[in-house]
């Protein structure tokens, strides 16, 4: 059996799944339930100067009958008294000494406040700190959260303040509300951070109530931009993670991957792209803590199948497989193939190709079932038909190289090779 043990900056947990700093980690009662369910660790809900939340806080994007494929919130950091939070953290640490306890922090924007927060936090015996440079709403207006993360100079300065007094590992949580996460990550590293985590939420408007015309969530007839997370943000998070993992100066800094992780497969993907462990928020909020069972079980079975003994065996393995466009092999060519035995004649491949792609599928009308076949010479290998096909492995993409040699765009252009004529 694979070993799911995780060691992130020396912080040990029985599995690489932590709950991200958010409502699931807001109180002792939640965190105890999470640990009982089997979560490896928690990043406690962000502490700072106590705030007041509004009512009506979340909204979601539903798609094709699936609820909350994207999730949005306008909550602030913890609205509970600091002392209560710290007391509860101590209590949980005593009850579950084998789980990771990280405290998320967002102090007021001065050195003294940060020093105080850091000291109070490490006094609890917590194993690490996470600096919240990402919250995109509410705190930003006060010059905190994403306002810090979006300005590398400020970010670096704040990390420096923290490192002056920190005695436990410090993770800096980056904001995705930037065109690139790299400058912020580098700034944090220059400031001395031990690790990084990303992503926090992405600014969003999830929708509008078409009766009242008020966007969601509706706070007494008004709304604000919220922070977007959940399955919909995974691809964005993976991309940002990869940019960090590929950056020379960040390569040796452990990264905690966050953003839309719902299944063990998502988690494996984050880890393949360089995350040493992962954090989850929305999936737990939507389905409860029990999801940890399959997160662990699924990852463990996959590791057994692939022969990975520990999680470090596969972290980062996919990073080198994402390259620059110019380096792709133009001689690599695939064409779609429809398995007529599996085809259910829904015509989705045909209409998507015909209306929006390369008119590469032939139709032979029948009653009631049409027959669809690929025009191989027209097919550019775009995958659209395979994507829309409702039957697994009914459409496969078959390799038909255009030439034996590896030939990239730079070379192609240099040789003046021909472009399409239609």
């Amino acid at each position: 059996m694979a070993n799911l043990q995780s060691n992130f900056l020396g912080i040990k947990s029985p599995n690489p799944f932590w709950l991200a700093s958010a409502p699931p980690t807001d109180k002792k009662i939640n965190v105890i339930r999470a640990f009982e369910a089997g979560w490896g660790g928690v990043v406690w809900k962000t502490l700072g100067s106590q705030v007041k939340n509004v009512s009506s806080r979340y909204s979601a994007l539903n798609y094709n009958g699936r609820k909350a494929v994207g999730f949005n919130n306008i909550e602030l950091i913890s609205d509970r008294p600091l002392e209560v939070n710290l007391k509860e953290i101590r209590e949980v640490l005593k009850l579950f000494p084998d789980r990771a306890m990280i405290i998320s922090l967002m102090a007021d924007n001065d050195r003294k406040s940060w020093h105080e927060m850091v000291k109070k936090s490490q006094d609890t015996g917590a194993h690490g700190l996470e600096l919240n440079f990402g919250c995109p709403h509410g705190m930003v207006e006060r010059g905190m959260g994403a306002a810090v993360g979006q300005d590398p100079d400020i970010a670096k300065m704040v990390v420096e303040w923290v490192m002056e007094v920190a005695t436990i590992p410090v993770i800096t949580k980056l904001t995705p509300n930037v065109h690139s996460a790299v400058p912020g990550g580098l700034a944090a590293i220059e400031g001395g951070t031990n690790g990084l985590s990303l992503i926090n939420t992405i600014q969003s408007v999830t929708g509008i109530d078409l009766d009242t015309l008020v966007p969601n969530p509706n706070v007494g007839g008004q709304s604000v931009f919220g922070g977007y997370c959940g399955p919909a943000v995974k691809p964005i998070a993976l991309k940002m993670l990869t940019t960090l993992a590929q950056e020379e100066r960040i390569r040796n800094i452990p990264i905690s991957g966050i953003g839309g992780i719902t299944t063990w497969k998502d988690a494996v993907e984050f880890m393949l792209l360089g995350a040493s462990n992962v954090q989850v928020c929305t999936a737990a909020m939507i389905s409860g803590f029990k999801i940890i069972t399959d997160l662990c079980d699924g990852m463990s079975n996959w590791m057994d199948e692939k022969g990975y003994k520990s999680i470090d065996d596969f972290v980062g393995l996919s990073v080198p497989k994402i390259t620059r466009w110019e380096e792709l092999d133009i001689n690599f060519h695939i064409v779609a193939k429809i398995d007529q035995d599996k085809c259910i004649h829904c015509g989705l491949c045909y209409i998507s190709c015909e209306d929006t792609s390369h008119q590469s599928i032939d139709i032979e009308r029948g009653n009631p079932y049409n027959t669809y076949t690929i025009k191989e010479e027209e097919c550019v290998g775009c995958n659209l038909c395979k994507i829309v096909c409702p039957v697994n492995d009914c459409i496969t993409m078959v390799e038909q190289r255009k030439g034996d040699e590896y030939l990239n765009w730079i070379e192609y252009e240099k040789r003046g090779l021909p472009l399409n004529d239609h």
Partner: protein, 446 residues
């Protein structure tokens, strides 16, 4: 116990005749089912619907919350889309063609979704259609059944003034008087007819019978065109001794009684034999059973493989506790004091395929006798041959002949529905009515 009515309590009857295909109780149910639809291109369901309802479109409109658009999509292809959602044998039409069948999955509940939208439109009296201003053309439609009503609606939509002549006192044709009571209620049938007529421009004259109160020649004179949607008549006779006995009834009349009276007033026997295995036979059998008959046996000349009803209908009869005798054909009904007592049947075997392509039943010479007190004849219906001949309309054994523009041999006289096809489904009759209207509009130059 002999043939008698009032076998069950009112509550029992209500339960037995409750909706066989209940609707979605919640919007969520409809939405979940609608979202299962993968929205096929050139959809097999649509192609398998005689009225070509754009099924993927109306289902996606349910998904998107555009119920009004969904109802319009359904009803503009099939003005009886509400009724059809309850009575269509969808297992051999849209749902039978659903691509999910090919995955071994349950097909999309197209009928149930269709009912969801169409029933809302009918109950809510939504004004989905706007009639064009009158163009002064006048058309007479004979029969307010699915064919006649569909034709009238399509004509009126284009500004034609339509007068419908109907021999009964209610519209809907066999939808109102024939279809099983557990599929549609009289109230629904009335609402549906009212909905169709709400477009305006259609004057229905009830209790006016062609051949009795009016003649075709008169109508040809008074109107710019005539559409015949008179359906077919009563059940075919068995032509065997004993058919005149008390207790031998025609399925169509039996069901007509059942659809027009209180269930408690309808008499059934203890041991009922139903002759035939079509939709009408199944309906007569299941409804006899539901009225409280002890034993109901369906008797059919061929085997289960050749049965004209669908598997779903057969299952319905099985679940109702009906019995089946395959390869048997009635030979004689024996009576006592003028009342049915026994049914003698010939045992049959399958021979060579006949014109229908099915293997023909051949008499083996052996017989068997069963005790019965009621025999319901449901071996096909006979067209109004006499009336049609009297009006000089060309026909084949009473089935009206039409050309590809739905016109009969008489200029300006069109026809469609059961009276032409000899008896199919409501949905076929609706399409025939639409086709008739198209032919008439062309003929009128509208």
């Amino acid at each position: 116990m002999p043939i008698q009515n009032n076998r069950l309590s009112t509550e029992d009857l209500a339960l037995k005749f409750a909706d066989v295909h209940p609707p979605f109780e919640h919007a969520e149910g409809a939405a979940i089912e609608a979202d299962r639809c993968i929205n096929c291109y050139d959809a097999p369901c649509t192609k398998s619907c005689p009225t070509s309802i754009d099924v993927p479109l109306f289902i996606k409109q349910i998904s998107s919350g555009n119920i009004k658009g969904s109802a319009k999509t359904i009803l503009s292809s099939n003005i009886m889309g509400g009724g059809c959602s309850k009575v269509c044998p969808v297992e051999k039409l849209c749902e039978g063609a659903c691509v999910y069948n090919l995955l071994g999955e349950e097909p999309i509940s197209i009928a149930k979704l269709q009912r969801y939208s169409a029933e809302k439109a009918i109950k809510g009296k939504w004004e989905l259609f706007e009639r064009k201003p009158s163009n002064g053309k006048k058309v007479a439609v004979i029969g307010a059944g699915p064919a006649g009503l569909a034709c009238a609606h399509a004509l009126s939509l284009q500004g034609v003034e339509v007068t419908v002549f109907e021999k009964e006192e209610k519209g809907g044709g066999l939808m109102t008087y024939g279809v099983a009571a557990y599929k549609v209620t009289p109230e629904f049938c009335k609402e549906e007819v009212d909905f169709i007529l709400s477009i305006g421009g259609i004057d229905v004259q009830y209790k006016k019978e062609l051949g009795k109160d009016i003649t075709l020649a008169e109508l040809q004179q008074k109107y710019d065109a005539v559409f015949l949607g008179i359906g077919v008549g009563i059940a075919r006779s068995l032509d065997i001794p004993g058919e005149e006995l008390d207790g031998v009834v025609d399925a169509i009349s039996f069901i007509y009684e059942l659809r027009t009276n209180d269930f408690s007033k309808i008499a059934v026997g203890d041991n009922v034999a139903v002759i035939g295995m079509g939709m009408t036979a199944i309906d007569a059998a299941t409804q006899s059973k539901r009225l409280g008959a002890k034993d109901v046996t369906l008797i059919y000349r061929r085997t289960e493989n050749e049965k004209p009803c669908t598997e779903v209908e057969l299952d319905l009869a099985k679940l109702d506790g009906c019995s089946f005798i395959w390869l048997a054909s009635p030979k004689e009904i024996i009576g006592e004091n003028g009342k049915v007592k026994k049914l003698v049947c010939n045992k049959m075997k399958l021979g060579e395929p006949d014109t229908s392509g099915r293997r023909a039943p051949v008499d083996t010479g052996e017989t068997f006798t069963m005790d019965v007190d009621m025999v319901i004849k449901a071996a096909g219906q006979i067209p109004f041959e006499e009336l049609i001949n009297k009006s000089s309309v060309q026909n084949k054994s009473g089935k009206i002949s039409i050309n590809n523009k739905t016109e009969t041999n008489l200029k300006g006289v069109f026809a469609g529905g059961d009276s032409v096809n000899g008896g199919k489904e409501v949905v076929d009759a609706v399409q025939a009515g639409k086709d008739g209207a198209k032919g008439i509009l062309q003929y009128l130059g509208v």
